[in-house]
């Protein structure tokens, strides 16, 4: 009988990472994910694994890079301002083809903003975020169970593609407490022949992103671009609720999806045919299911806690013919069901 318990969102990420075999965690305090760091501080030594509170998020991401280079499953967690600091390191890791898991518990920005939950890092997360041609798979949980499950998936996908994977949540989700089924521990970690573990009985390995040669570098980037294309083809994940007969499609992720479900139920109780597409991967984005629904003549409500960022991806999917309304909050204010329902009402 798998164990079931109550758990907070941030803790579920932490425990999920441990179940997935995370061998090293490096982090820096920043609200609203301090409880994740603190849980790791207590639990990683219990598990005989590496934990270190670093001098900055800059140092944390570079330590993740070093740990990944020696073949460890490594992770850091932060919030939006710290995530900005980590872009350099993430770019280097993607360029050097290093696996890692980075958790961004988003808060209001730009700048210092405030500590309320938000979804204002969407563009930064889904478009690489740092310099150069790269993308990260973005996994967006919407429940505490998904905080655990998608963190475990993140480690798998990171190793599968040799690329950092982002777990993107918001400050509210980090604090929500829900029942969780504790998953089974990952027993066997994949072999990593490319890791720098000491040149014992083999020629030396080298991990870098630097390539001065104008013939070799484009070749190298092409291999990366092909990798991102494989992600686009193979790793799209989303949930579709009540879309078969829907006239209006809500598009939302994270905490905004929870409110959207309430709004959808309110609408259905009034005989309005409303459905929901909930992206679970923000990259690769589920363009196709949205395009299919647009073809059927649906209208769309994008519900997000930002100035309108996922809105652009929905527009790309849907094209110019179908009406799209934005129901949003920003500045750390939670998005409740009522404004989403109002947008539905306006579309009818």
């Amino acid at each position: 009988m798998p164990e079931r318990t109550l758990m907070g969102g941030n803790i579920a990420i932490s425990e999920g990472a441990i179940l997935a075999g995370c061998q090293a965690y490096f982090g820096y305090p920043i609200t609203p994910q301090n409880d994740l760091l603190e849980n790791m501080a207590r639990r990683m030594p219990e598990e005989g694994r590496v934990f270190l509170q670093t001098e900055s998020e800059l140092a944390a991401i570079n330590m993740v890079y070093g740990a990944a280079a020696v073949g460890f499953r490594a992770m850091t967690s932060t919030s939006s301002p710290g995530f900005s600091l980590q872009q350099e390191g993430i770019s280097y890791m993607s360029g050097a083809e290093m696996p890692a898991v980075i958790v961004n518990i988003m808060r209001a920005g730009p700048g210092l903003g405030n500590i309320g939950g938000a979804q204002g890092d969407y563009m930064q997360c889904t478009r690489g975020g740092g310099h150069g041609d790269y993308y990260l798979i973005n996994l967006a949980p919407s429940s505490v169970q998904e905080m655990m499950d998608l963190t475990m998936l993140a480690f798998e996908l990171a190793d599968k593609y040799r690329n950092p994977v982002l777990v993107v949540a918001d400050g509210f989700l980090g604090q929500v407490v829900e029942p969780v089924t504790i998953r089974e521990r990952v027993k066997k970690l994949p072999e990593k022949k490319w890791a720098i573990t000491g040149a014992r009985g083999r020629p030396k390995n080298r991990i870098n992103s630097f390539e001065m040669n104008p013939i070799d570098h484009p070749r190298r980037i092409k291999l990366l671009l092909d990798k991102f294309e494989r992600m686009r083809i193979n790793e799209v994940r989303y949930e579709a609720l009540n879309t078969e007969d829907a006239d209006i499609i809500l598009v939302a992720y994270g905490s905004a999806a929870r409110s959207s479900i309430s709004a959808m139920k309110m609408a259905r109780s009034k005989k309005l045919r409303v459905g929901l597409i909930r992206p679970i991967t923000l990259f690769p984005f589920p363009y196709q299911p949205l395009a299919d629904l647009a073809e059927k003549g649906c209208k769309f409500v994008v519900a997000e806690m930002s100035g309108g960022q996922m809105l652009e991806d929905v527009r790309i999917a849907v094209g110019n013919q179908n009406e799209i309304k934005l129901a949003n909050t920003y500045g750390g204010v939670p998005l409740e069901a009522d404004p989403i329902f109002e947008a539905i009402d306006l579309l009818m």
């Binding site: 800059l58 993740v64 890079y65 070093g66 720098i196 030396k204």
Partner: protein, 268 residues
């Protein structure tokens, strides 16, 4: 005629100096008279003599050391500008059996990497840092560095460094030696054979400090950069004596008793 390694020449006459086997037989990318070439060789000699082919991890930094890992036969990786101490920290904490080391320039270590080196030292990370200090940003064309001397011409202080604009040079070895984490901190130079011999001993001791698990070890090595000092290579060693050594005195700034014992040859 190629320079043959000790192993290859043993068939012939007695080799008393040759390229260490652990170093790749290749020309260097450094300018004529660059101190990095000497510094790299000293590192190679230490790795060879301590038999670290299978355990050492070379972390290249940004600047003229960016391709450091191409010169040794050990595993290597690249670190972003200034971040080598953080990368090395993680490697050592994850795999304490490995021997991570980094070669950093003065911009990498003392400017953009100032936080990382201070905290790695403060935590007493058991890593080895070789700090090549030539008072300039060599790779990018000779701009101001944290260790640039007063009144020194650089590409970004064309009137010479002055205090009002750019403050004062930083003595990293003395500064880090005030922390409790370091086990061995020394400053040496490579501008003449006697200094090079002392530098070699310091580099070797810095590696042995890591092997003995005694704490953070850093050797600051004053290095020639004739191009950006705007002198002929032949004048560079004297330029260092006249200008750099008064500002950056040679010596040891932190030697824990355990390290002193290693140096004496105590087997502990």
């Amino acid at each position: 005629m190629t320079s043959m390694s000790k192993a290859e020449m043993d068939d012939y006459d007695n080799v008393i100096f040759a390229r260490p086997d652990i170093m790749v037989d290749r020309p260097t990318h450094f300018c004529p008279g660059c101190g990095h070439g000497i510094i790299q060789r000293l590192v190679g000699e230490a790795l060879q003599e301590l038999d670290l082919l299978e355990r050492a991890i070379c972390i290249g930094s940004i600047g003229c050391t960016v391709t450091a890992y191409e010169y040794f036969k050990v595993d290597g990786m690249e670190a972003p500008h200034g971040r080598a101490p953080a990368v090395a920290t993680a490697i050592k904490r994850c795999r304490p059996d490995l021997v991570p080391f980094a070669i950093q320039g003065d911009g990498d270590l003392a400017s953009i990497g100032a936080a990382e080196i201070v905290h790695a030292a403060a935590r007493g990370e058991k890593i080895t840092i070789i700090f090549a200090n030539n008072a300039t940003y060599g790779m990018t064309g000779g701009q101001l560095a944290p260790t640039t001397l007063m009144n020194m011409y650089t590409a970004s202080t064309p009137g010479g460094r002055n205090a009002e604009q750019s403050g004062y040079p930083i003595r990293m070895s003395e500064m880090l030696a005030t922390l409790d984490g370091p086990a061995y901190i020394a400053r040496v130079a490579v501008n003449n054979p006697a200094n090079v011999r002392k530098a070699k001993k310091a580099v070797e001791l810095a590696f042995r400090t890591q092997l003995a698990g005694l704490g953070f070890a850093m050797v600051e090595i004053l290095s020639m950069c004739p191009i950006n000092w705007r002198v002929e290579p032949e004048q560079a060693p004297q330029w260092m004596t006249d200008n750099m050594i008064p500002q950056f005195p040679l010596g040891e700034f932190k030697v824990l008793p355990g390290v002193a014992a290693l140096r004496r040859g105590d087997r502990s």
